[in-house]
Structure formats: C-alpha cells, structure tokens
C-alpha cells in the first residue's frame, strides 16, 4: 500500500467536489428544476369540461389531428402567465398554431374574464378546477406548456413561462418541422 497516495486522497476528493461545484455554478443549472418524464412519451389523456360556454368538452382526440398541438396550463391569478400571454397570442394569430388552454385551479368565470380582457389565444379551452387532470400531465404549477407532435408524442415540457427565445429557437422550428 502506498501511503503517499493515501495522503493525497483528501486533496483529490476535494478537487473532484470543487470541480462539480464550479461546473454547477457555471452551467447555469436551475437547482429547483424537477425535470419531466413526459417528454418523448405518448401524450397523457385529455378529458376536461370546456371553459367557454356552449363548446364541447375536450378529449384526447384533439391531440391526434395529425398536426402538432401546444397545450398550455394557465390561471387568471398567476402573474407569470400574464408575462407569456402575448407570446401565446402571437403563436395563435401569426403562426396559426393550435393551442389547447387549460385553466388550472381557476374558477371558470374568472378564467373567462381574464381571457376576455387580454385576448383569447386558445383554439380549444378547458378547465381543471380540482387539478386531477393536471396530475396526469405531471404538472407542478402554472404556467406550464407542452408541445405534442403530429404523432401525439410529447416533445417539449416547459415548467416556466415560455420566453421569446424558447419560441424562436425551439418551439417554432419543431412546429414547422411537424407540418
């Protein structure tokens, strides 16, 4: 047994640990990120009462139209949802994307008033007042956005409000490729 190596061991351990810490600090990793198991899996079931009066309830068929679909969970009481709202409007109006919006833990009338005031980007809108549907989607809060491709597979899962950069660099290229 080489004692010298033994004496060096603590220093080497420190070097490894410090390397990880430095990497972590420089990587811009978000320690609060929980990851998603939904990506690259068949989209979870969709079954929700319609948010807008007089429309049919939402079903999983909406996700199997042969076109990519964006599913966005939101709430009127959620401030970050306000921040991403203009981007949703842009996707709907300029890009003609199909967006399914689901109001999470939100009284339907409040969600409707919110959409009326700010503009309604959703092709289909549903409500999940008790949060049980959202659990199937692995939702942790609002806003969260899923991109489902033409084959009904989840391609993206955002745990945060989407940004201009997400839109241009990731979402739009995938949507266009899907068409």
């Amino acid at each position: 047994m080489n004692n010298r190596v033994l004496y060096l061991l603590p220093l080497l351990t420190l070097a490894v640990m410090a390397g990880f810490f430095g990497w972590s600090l420089l990587s811009g990793r978000d320690p609060a990120s929980i990851g998603s198991v939904m990506v690259n899996r068949q989209a979870p079931r969709l079954a929700a009462p319609a948010l807008r009066e007089g429309e049919p309830a939402l079903t999983s068929d909406l996700l199997k139209t042969g076109k990519p679909v964006l599913v966005n969970f939101f709430a009127s009481w959620c401030t970050p949802c306000l921040a991403e709202h203009p981007l949703m409007m842009r996707l709907r109006q300029r890009e003609g994307v199909t967006i399914v919006g689901i109001a999470w833990k939100n009284k339907p009338e409040e969600a409707r008033a919110w959409l009326k005031k700010l503009g309604d980007p959703f092709t289909y809108a549903g409500t999940d007042y008790d949060g049980m549907l959202s659990l199937d989607w692995g939702l942790s809060g609002v806003p969260e956005t899923y991109l489902i491709d033409a084959a009904g597979i989840v391609r993206l899962h955002y745990h945060a409000p989407i940004t201009e950069k997400d839109l241009n660099d990731t979402i739009l290229p995938l949507l266009r490729a899907g068409k």
Binding site: M1, A32, I34, G35, S36, V37, P44, K105, D130, G131, M132, S134, L135, D136, W137, G138, L139, S140, G141
Partner: protein, 145 residues
C-alpha cells in the same frame, strides 16, 4: 413565490376534508405521503407541504388507495407522472449505486485497512535498497583508493 407557499401557511398541510373515513387506509395514505416529495417545494414531503400541487397529490394518493391500489402501485402512479424525483427515497438503480453503496464501501475498505494495520506487527526495518550503478562505481573507486 412557490417556495413561500410551502411554508407560509403551515396549518394547510393535510386538511381534515382530505382525510379518509377508513383509518387503516388513511394510515397507509399518510405513510405514503411522507415518502412522496412535493414537486414545487424544497425537500418537503407532500404530507408536510401546504402547496396546491401537494394537496392534489394527497387527494390522488387517497383516490388510488380507495380504488384498491397497492402501496407499490400508488408510488408507481406518481413516478409515471413525476419521475424518480418524486420519491424521497431514491430507487436502487445503476445510477444511484454510488449513493447507496458509497458510504458502506468506505466503511468496508477503511475497516479492512485498519484490520490489516492492527494485525501488522512492528517490522524489522527493511533492508536498504540495493546500490545504484553510480553508487557502485563510487564505492569501487573509494575501495580502490
């Protein structure tokens, strides 16, 4: 903001309205809740957490149990939705080998080293290393002198 939601209203965790009538089932639900992590909190189980999503998860656990699921099936249900992240006890898998076996390994290796160190008797100082060529030459020259 979300973080504050977990601790700001402590009395919110496990509300009476959530609890099941059947005490045995409720007991199982509480035990499982303590092993599931609240996904928006920091190291809190859903049993302790006041977050909205923790509330939903507690309800879902109870719904599954009422529907007759086994404990394992309930945990599987959560893992299918939130991944291994949701388990406060990480599963024993290749990627968690170091986590589970690291400390026992240290114990065993260090224990063995100590065991052999303890058995070692004081040794006679080892014979000096053989002379190198240059040293031999020097010795020769010294002897010749």
């Amino acid at each position: 903001m979300l973080v504050l939601a977990c601790v700001a209203f402590p009395a919110f965790a496990v509300e009476p309205s959530e609890m099941l009538k059947d005490p045995a089932l409720e007991m199982r639900a509480r035990t499982l809740s303590r092993e599931l992590r609240c996904v928006v909190c920091q190291n809190q189980s859903i049993d302790d957490s006041a977050a909205e999503v923790a509330h939903d998860m507690r309800i879902a656990v109870r719904e599954r149990l009422t529907a007759g699921d086994s404990d394992k099936a309930v945990m599987g249900y959560m893992v299918a939705r939130y991944g291994d992240y949701v388990l406060l006890e990480p599963p024993f898998k290749p990627r968690t080998l170091v986590l589970w076996l690291g400390a026992p390994l240290v114990l065993v290796v260090a224990g063995l080293l100590l065991f052999f160190a303890a058995r070692r008797r004081p040794v006679v100082p080892a014979a000096p290393p053989p002379l190198s060529d240059t040293e031999k030459e020097r010795l020769q020259s010294l002897l010749k002198r």
